[in-house]
């Protein structure tokens, strides 16, 4: 059974029914007792009266004694009757009540089992696997029709998500073809021996623009892939990936005069190495890019018993906590971060999408002196094979 004790429909159902049964039983028992009391009272009065009807109390003085003795016997009989009824009836009521409650517990368990199945499926789907269905078997019923509408809703959702993924992938593919053509045309034109300096300059500018498009589309593709379920799962050490990303970023960091600090401890996870590398590279690139001269970038990886963490901290502009959610939205940059047009505006959206696709999450905390600390938490995997 899922859910807490208080939140369980089954428990509430059973308690309510038991209480109602007890109440109804008590009312019936009370009614029976009143009925028996009145009937006995009447019958005994009639019997005792008939016994003495031939004698007149005025002529025979002993009749009064018999009448009072009869009255006492009647009281004794009725009291014994009442006690008997109360004890035996009460015990019977209690026993039946317990049995009925147990029956209701069993029955509501049976009735709610399909509902629990639906809940469990919904839980699993919340973990980003839209492929599962409830597929409730059995004759048509209210719960089955709920399960069936749930299934058909999932079908449509699944289709919509798949369609979206396909659309992004196709669009990125179609956009990349002309960009590839541009790149080759420019490369070849600039290599012509008769190219004038103006043409060369124009070519360089166009190449730079083309590269921006390339990066944007690559990011879109990464984002589209990260939103789908991760299919390629392998043991990966975040420390290794981070070390690699730092090597790649070392040149840019030196140019920006940003100091790089690394505290890399083994942090094993299981996931798509390409996506995870993209995640780390985005974080490190961002940390270097949105920094100021003589600032620092600190990259930490560590492993907790259940999770692996990557923390990338950088100095930079002041960011208010209210602005943090904006950072994770696609194509949104903070106004004072737009200074550099090199970013695609997808960096942190990709980081979060990749983290969530791996069952983790990414959180950003602004530093009081400016800059940002981004913490990526992923479920811990087995140590990678050497």
């Amino acid at each position: 059974m899922t859910g807490s004790w208080r939140g369980s429909l089954r428990v509430r159902h059973t308690l309510l029914f038991g209480l109602m049964f007890l109440l109804a039983g008590s009312v019936v028992l009370g009614g029976v007792m009143i009925l028996v009391h009145n009937t006995m009272d009447y019958s005994l009065s009639v019997v005792f009266a008939r016994k003495l009807e031939k004698y007149s109390p005025s002529t025979e003085p002993w009749v009064a004694n018999v009448v009072s003795a009869d009255e006492v016997s009647k009281q004794v009989i009725m009291a014994s009757m009442r006690d008997n009824l109360l004890v035996k009836g009460g015990l019977t009521l209690l026993a039946v009540c317990v049995a009925a409650t147990a029956g209701v517990w069993w029955l509501s368990g049976r009735l709610l089992r399909p509902l629990n199945m639906i809940t469990e499926t919904a839980h699993r789907i919340a973990g980003r696997t839209l492929h599962r269905r409830i597929e409730l078997a059995g004759p048509p019923s209210e719960v089955k029709s709920l399960a069936d509408s749930f299934d058909s809703m999932l079908d449509r959702l699944d289709e919509a998500f798949a369609g979206q993924g396909r659309f992004i992938a196709n669009a990125a593919h179609e956009l990349k073809t002309p960009i590839a053509l541009n790149r080759t045309l420019l490369d070849v034109a600039m290599a012509r021996p008769d190219s004038s300096p103006q043409v060369l300059r124009l070519g360089e500018n166009l190449l730079a623009v083309n590269q921006r498009h390339e990066r944007l589309i690559d990011s879109l593709l990464t984002l589209a892939r990260a939103d789908e379920a991760v299919t390629d799962r392998r043991p990966v050490d975040l420390a290794q990936l981070a070390g690699h990303a730092l090597d790649v970023a070392a040149k840019a960091a030196a140019q920006q005069r940003v100091q790089v600090q690394a505290q890399l401890e083994e942090a094993p996870v299981v996931g798509d190495p390409t996506l995870l590398e993209q995640l780390i590279r985005n974080l490190v690139d961002n940390a270097v890019r949105y920094n100021h001269a003589h600032g620092f970038v600190r990259v930490q990886t560590l492993a907790e018993p259940r999770q692996a963490e990557l923390i990338v901290t950088n100095t930079g502009a002041l960011i208010s906590p209210a602005e943090v959610p904006v950072l994770f939205e696609p194509f949104r940059r903070l106004t004072d971060r737009v200074g550099s047009a090199r970013g695609s505006g997808l960096g942190l959206s990709i980081v979060r999408a990749v983290a969530q696709a791996h069952g983790g999450d990414a959180l950003a905390i602004p530093r009081p002196d400016g800059g940002l600390s981004v913490r990526v938490i992923l479920p811990r995997g087995d140590a990678p094979r050497a």
Binding site: K176, A180, N182, T184, D187, V188, A191, E214, T274
Partner: protein, 129 residues
Amino acid sequence: MRVLVVDDEELMAAAIAEGLRQRAFAVDTAHDGAGALDKLAAGGYDVLILGLPWAHGAEVCRRVVAAGTGVRVLMLTVFVSAADRAAGLSLGADDHLAKPFAFAELVARVRALGQPERPEVRLGPQLLP
């Protein structure tokens, strides 16, 4: 060295051809699978640069490898994921380059493919990840 450039994008094929000719390669172009196979049948090519869409490219690649003419195949594809790359190499392509590419890299790879094969410097399977 003789190179055949196949790309359904005529501008692309022409640009690659021009760039390679600047570097003293002998280059022919084709724009579809049938044209490519016709030209290959005439023979004499060292390297085939195959930039057709995936389904066509795969078919041409399979046939060229099956024909066993010894032409080295360089596949040019848009968006190469690790899986795509593996699929391309499993068809028997000798090398793979993702579009968009730096032209200098294409030239370097074509040169390397056109070299007579030297088995001792090729990666053994134990060195592949």
